[in-house]
Symmetry: C2
Subunit: 191 residues, 2 copies
DNA sequence: CTTTTTCCAATACGACTGCAATGTATAGCT
DNA sequence: AGCTATACATTGCAGTCGTATTGGAAAAAG
């Protein structure tokens, strides 16, 4: 057996091709053959690593989520809670080309998951963790008489919304950052 | 010519079938034949009213947008600016079953439009109008030293994000409303 | 060595897709 | 009555889809 292949690595290679396709042609343009072509391999190989299409989709979704999470955690060295929260949230916004790509993928997957409740479960725990983290930081900053849980929900919703509208180019990126900062001012009692 | 038929009406009938499909099976499950079956007509008739699939999609998207806008305008009788803004924004959130349906459709279309820049144009003017309206209301309320344009961007982003996360059932509806109210408190100088 | 197991390529299959072409019935106009 | 334009139905086509199957190369195991 040519066992010298790293399964994880191959699957990520394919999932990368998948995300590239999803970002440029939408999830509708994602098929086994297209993924194989984009990755420069045969459709048989794709089938070898993902027995079904749903399995491939699920893996790719998880991979994107992991990468976003990893980037956020890498940002976890900041002085004040406010800067920490800001840094993490900025990682979510599609401010450069690679994050725009990931944003498109995330949006496509969200619409995909909206129909497949089994996938929503994975999403839920991820965002719940992020919410708890933000609420904790708000408390650490000594938020002045706000409901920190509610504020965390609102803050994450704001960032998600900003990201969505950035993807469809509703306004400039600097406006999005300004809106986020304005909101942080309100919450952290800025100026 | 066979009896006078209202084109608009027929197209809306088909677009309704399309939105029903999109809400339950996702946009991926939308095909000419499926739409025809859902509407109880032949595929030939669908082709008669929409020469191409993209034409059908675009019409359906516009229809959904129009309905949301109409519902929002119907809400336009309220005492204070804050109540007015709140009422309009609540129309966007998927708080009942029909709005959940529309939300799914909107999300699916958003992911669809993310790849087709031609469609983004239509979205843009709609949301820009809403943003201007909200900014105007904020000024009318005598917002205390905030940048009203920025606040409008943030408010709409918040509502969009809340809506998205409600669709994937990240938290309860009352939490979404509470988060919205908390944000309105911050902006309008609550308490 | 042989055997077995893994990796992958190729191909076939049935279902489905968007779309075009064609057929037919009806209703208004002249 | 005759013609034409509209409204739909039916059918066919070329292509893609996800999946199953088959087969062969290559390396580990015996």
């Amino acid at each position: 057996m040519p066992s010298k292949v790293d399964h994880r690595e191959r699957r990520e290679l394919l999932a990368d091709a998948l995300t590239r396709l999803a970002a440029t042609h939408g999830l509708a343009g994602v098929s086994l053959r297209q993924v194989a072509a984009e990755a420069g391999v045969s459709t048989g190989m794709v089938q070898h690593y993902f027995r079904t299409k749903d399995e491939m989709m699920t893996f790719a979704l998880g991979m994107v989520a992991d990468r976003i999470r990893a980037r956020s955690e890498a940002e976890a060295a900041a002085a004040t809670p406010r800067e920490l929260v800001r840094g993490v949230l900025l990682q979510i916004l599609p401010l450069d080309e690679t994050r725009r790509l990931e944003g498109h993928v995330g949006l496509a997957f969200l619409a995909y998951a909206a129909v497949k409740p089994a996938i929503q479960e994975g999403l839920r725990e991820g965002s719940a963790g992020m919410r708890g983290f933000i609420a904790g930081q708000l408390r650490a900053a000594g938020a002045h008489g706000i409901d920190t849980d509610l504020a965390a929900i609102g803050l994450m919703a704001l960032v998600d919304g900003l990201g969505m509208q950035l993807l469809s180019r509703q306004f400039a990126e600097k406006d999005a950052i300004a809106a986020l900062d304005a909101h942080l001012d309100l919450i952290f009692g800025g100026s």
